[in-house]
Amino acid sequence: MDTKKLSKDKLGEFVAVLAKQNKLYIPQKEGENLKFKPLSGDQEELDFPRITTVPPKDVFFPQTETLYRFEQGGTDISFPKEEEEAVVLGIRPCDARAMAIMDSLFSWDIDDPYFLNKREKTTLIGLACLEPGVNCFCTSVGGGPASTEGLDILLTDLGEDYLLQVLTEKGGKIKLSVEELLEEAAEDDLDTAEKLVKEATSKIGRSINTDGIQEKLPELWESPLWKNLSNSCLGCGICTFLCPTCHCFDIQDEMEGLEGRRCRVWDSCMFEEYTLHASGHNPRPSRRERLRNRINHKYSYFVQNFGKIACVGCGRCIDLCPVNIDVLDILSQVVKEAI
């Protein structure tokens, strides 16, 4: 493994070089909201938050994506322009793991060109989590503060410097482009990083034992648990839209006079219309079924289909739920629930 060191003094230059050669996504504020956005112009101060409100999934799977354009009455369609080479800087390991999870979905039976093209052309430079948040539970779902899955490069904050670990070929290419800004890493630095990550791991206060949950969930299908848990659910899209692994979308044709486009937009299984049939019938008619589905999908169906839990333990759904529906609480009730 290629391991280097980047002095924090040179972070600005590092960013400048990356931005010059690629479309560079870094966490930025939009209103009060934090999300990954392409760097445009000068970024006064680089600040890597513990976590962005909107997960970086929207770099690859934008909330709104034009699939093609058309004219009413015509037969021609035109596609959006080719993707550029891009770098996502400052992505947290949990969010990077989420991308690996989404890869399985978007290359499942059919390859999704829109998603995969962007994935292919984008390098993920992650930042190890040394200050986990109150609702972090990545370690319970196969991740960790310095998990490398899905990442091309991992940075670890050593105080004065970042330890830079190249993880993939793509990462190597990026490393080459910034080679002159990097220093060699010492054995000590590796040890320090390991120590910091260990400390961070120990700070993670919340956990759940997911063993057997996949099998147990379907057995609890008719449990009163779901009704009780969903009583307070508002049916909003916070937990899904802001989940780094949620990937459901809707296809819409949007018209403007004679011009139109077909686009895909995020959809949420927590919305009533998500499963609403044209007949008016809704197989998931209430919040109970929708909440049950969300949990089952993440911890059972996805595992069944792809062999992994569709949750990376980022804690966003817990942080942001306005009514304190807490996925760890749900899972622990599931574990406890007698069948």
Binding site: Q72, G73, G257, L258
Partner: protein
């Protein structure tokens, strides 16, 4: 049925009216590329027979199912082209028009810009046409009867006209007799006919007409339904006299212990009656009524040993057990003729009406000059009417010599909230002045006035005559009336000569104005009528629908709609009668097609539309929605007039006005905004 839109676009040249500034060919060419357009043509005069034929043939040959005509205003020819479609067996509401004449070619000169605008307007029409729906004009039957509320001259006249046309009339009058205000008048201006002489025959006609059911001493309790089908509930108050038995002989009233002790409403306090009474000698029906608030037996349960009226009534018509009775019936039309109140002169305290017995109102004077009145037509003042209470023996009476009228009392006066002119006071003042001079030839009569409005037929001539007879007109609005010795002093300023006046007189007559009735509110609530700024009932249109109201099938007549004199009242009553006869004689009414309808599946039952609807055409009803009883809006199609206010009030778009639905307007916005 395959209802995929196939649109025909027809661009009219209108000779050169459109073609001069709009490139008609270019517009037609442009329209041919619009979505769902099957044919697009231009023609010199679309409204001409060949023009219409063009459309009809295309509908037949090309299978068109939507038509867009780009020509003049739809206000001009929408009905024409709807008929064209109907003749080609296409639903007439599959028509949409683009107004490229009044709102384009006629108002723009720049040919290029006008053509561009015309294209946009046509495109908007095409986009709307794609989403048009076929609509049905439904008809409902009409109950061949009319309710008339109010038995004054307006109600009487309307009742007679409708009854003579062969339709049933229910004439409801609150008091024991028809006749109304007109029956209280002595003579009528400017012709000086005797009021009773011309009114009484009509009253008798109403009382005996086979088509008229007279419901006197009755009040309308409830009205529901809509044009053609109103359900009416009337309360017939207990008279305590059996109408069938009473012969109207009047012995009961003579015998009544309270004879001459109850102030008579008819005589406006100038005369008295008994507890059992006939309001006035010519009353119709000529049946007696017991005043339940005054009758000793009814109020105290005891009247001497036995009620004298009972003893006196040979046919045994007195029935103290009588109860109010509710009568229910259906009518197709309603005429509101509830009349007016005279202004209460005590609301102008500066004129001393409450304080001095020789300050009287014009209506009181009307009773004094009437030969049938309490003084048998003699002008005798001071019978101890009010104010200075005197014992009977001390009452002095006198015939006034110096007499002043004060006009516009309660009219044209913002301090009492009446900005309007009452229209009759100038002329009745002239009439009363004339009558006074007839009765007291040596009297000095003057009139304090702001303006004299003598606008009607023969009015100015009459006003001239009265002045020539010696009535003085002094321009000035008196500020005060007070007593000095035996005389009343009027303080005023002659505004023509700018001189202050203190005028000593024996009698002051206040020419009181006309006001909406105190109980108008009840009628408004019954019929959901509107009031205009002057608080009288509001007509549907001040010029073109002066007898109609906002509610179809409900008409106005007489002073309930605003002050007017007898001929105007009669004219309006006849107008209302003929308006009511329209639906009655055709036997059916058409119901608007472009009305509101509710999507019950999404309606939340909030009632915003119900509150908004100006016609009470929407109500909330309970329906079963997958097992749950929920409240949803329901449109009464006969009441809806298609204004669409409900549609804009609905938050969820669940109530939509047909032909002007959100989904039809939004594409128009997209075209006009985005093109």
């Amino acid at each position: 049925m395959n209802n995929k839109p196939k649109i025909g676009v027809y661009v009219c040249h209108c000779g050169i009216n459109i073609a001069k500034t709009v490139d008609v060919d270019a517009v037609a060419e442009f329209a041919s590329h619009l979505p769902n357009v099957k044919v697009s043509r231009e023609y010199s005069y679309m409204c001409s027979d060949p023009g219409q034929l063009l459309i009809k043939e295309d509908i037949k040959n090309e299978g068109l199912n939507r038509v867009v005509v780009a020509s003049c205003s739809p206000r001009m020819h929408e009905l024409t082209f709807r008929k064209t479609l109907a003749e080609a067996e296409l639903n007439p509401y599959y028509l949409e028009m683009a107004n490229i004449r009044e709102q384009c070619s006629w108002v723009h000169e720049d040919r290029e810009k006008a053509t561009e605008k015309a294209k946009k307007l046509v495109a908007a029409a095409v986009y709307k046409a794609r989403l048009l729906e076929p609509l049905q004009e439904n008809e409902v039957g009409v109950e061949p009867a009319t309710l008339i509320i109010g038995g004054g001259i307006a109600g009487i006249q309307a009742a007679l006209d409708i009854a003579n046309a062969g339709f049933k009339v229910y004439l409801v009058e609150k008091t024991p007799s028809v006749g109304g205000r007109m029956s209280q008048l002595d003579k009528t201006f400017p012709t000086l006919d005797c009021s009773a002489c011309i009114l009484t025959p009509k009253m008798v006609d109403v009382g005996s007409h086979p088509n008229i059911e007279l419901l006197t001493y009755s009040e309308v309790e409830d009205i529901s339904g809509y044009i053609g089908n109103f359900d009416i509930k009337v309360r017939k108050k207990a008279r305590y006299v059996d109408m069938d038995k009473c012969t109207g002989c009047g012995i009961c009233a003579e015998e009544c212990r309270l004879t001459g002790r109850i102030s008579s409403e008819y005589e406006v306090g100038m005369g008295n009656r008994a507890a059992i009474y006939l309001p006035f000698p010519q009353a119709v029906p000529a049946k007696y009524t017991i005043d339940p608030e005054r009758c000793l037996f009814l109020t105290r349960g005891k009247c001497g040993k036995s009620p004298k009226c009972v003893d006196a009534c040979a046919p045994g018509a007195i029935d103290f057990e009588q109860k109010d009775e509710i009568v229910e019936f259906k009518v197709g039309a309603i005429i509101v003729a509830t009349g007016f109140d005279v202004f209460d002169a005590s609301r102008k305290p500066e004129f001393g009406y409450n304080d001095y017995e020789n300050v009287i109102t014009s209506l009181e004077l009307e009773r004094l000059v009437a030969a049938s009145g309490p003084t048998e037509g003699n002008i005798i003042i001071g019978k101890g009417r009010k104010g200075e209470k005197k014992k009977k023996k001390d009452r002095e009476t006198f015939t006034p010599k110096e007499i002043a009228f004060i006009s516009c009392v309660g009219s044209r006066d913002e301090t009492v909230g009446n900005e309007y002119c009452s229209r009759v006071c100038c002329m009745y003042t002239a009439k009363l002045a004339h009558l006074l001079l007839e009765k007291i030839p040596d009297a000095n009569v003057r009139v304090y006035y702001m303006d004299v409005r003598a606008f009607g037929k023969g009015f100015e001539e009459f006003y001239d005559r009265v002045r020539r007879e010696g009535v003085r007109y002094i321009r000035g609005n008196p500020s005060e009336v007070f007593k000095r010795g035996d005389k009343l002093v009027i303080k005023a300023e002659n505004t023509l000569t700018s001189t202050p006046i203190e005028d000593e007189v024996d009698l002051v007559v206040l020419a009181v104005g006309l006001e909406p009735r105190q109980d108008a509110r009840e009628v408004i609530d019954l019929l959901r009528l509107s009031q205009s700024g002057d608080r009288f009932f509001m007509e549907a249109h001040p010029k073109l629908a002066p007898v109609d109201t906002a509610t179809d099938g409900v008409f106005l007549a007489g002073c309930s709609q605003g002050p007017k004199d007898i001929p105007d009242t009669v004219a309006q009553a006849k107008g209302a009668a003929s308006s009511a006869l329209g639906p009655l004689s055709s036997g059916k009414v058409m119901i608007q097609a472009q009305i509101a309808h509710v999507d019950e599946a999404t309606c939340r039952g909030c009632g915003f539309c119900v509150e908004t609807c100006p016609y009470t055409a929407i109500e909330l009803v309970t329906v079963n929605r997958v097992g749950h009883m929920v409240s949803v809006a329901k449109v009464n199609e006969a009441l809806c007039k298609g204004c669409g206010a409900c549609t804009a009030a609905c938050l969820s778009g669940s109530i939509q006005q047909r032909s002007f639905m959100d989904e039809q307007i939004l594409p128009q916005i997209a075209v006009l905004g985005g093109m």
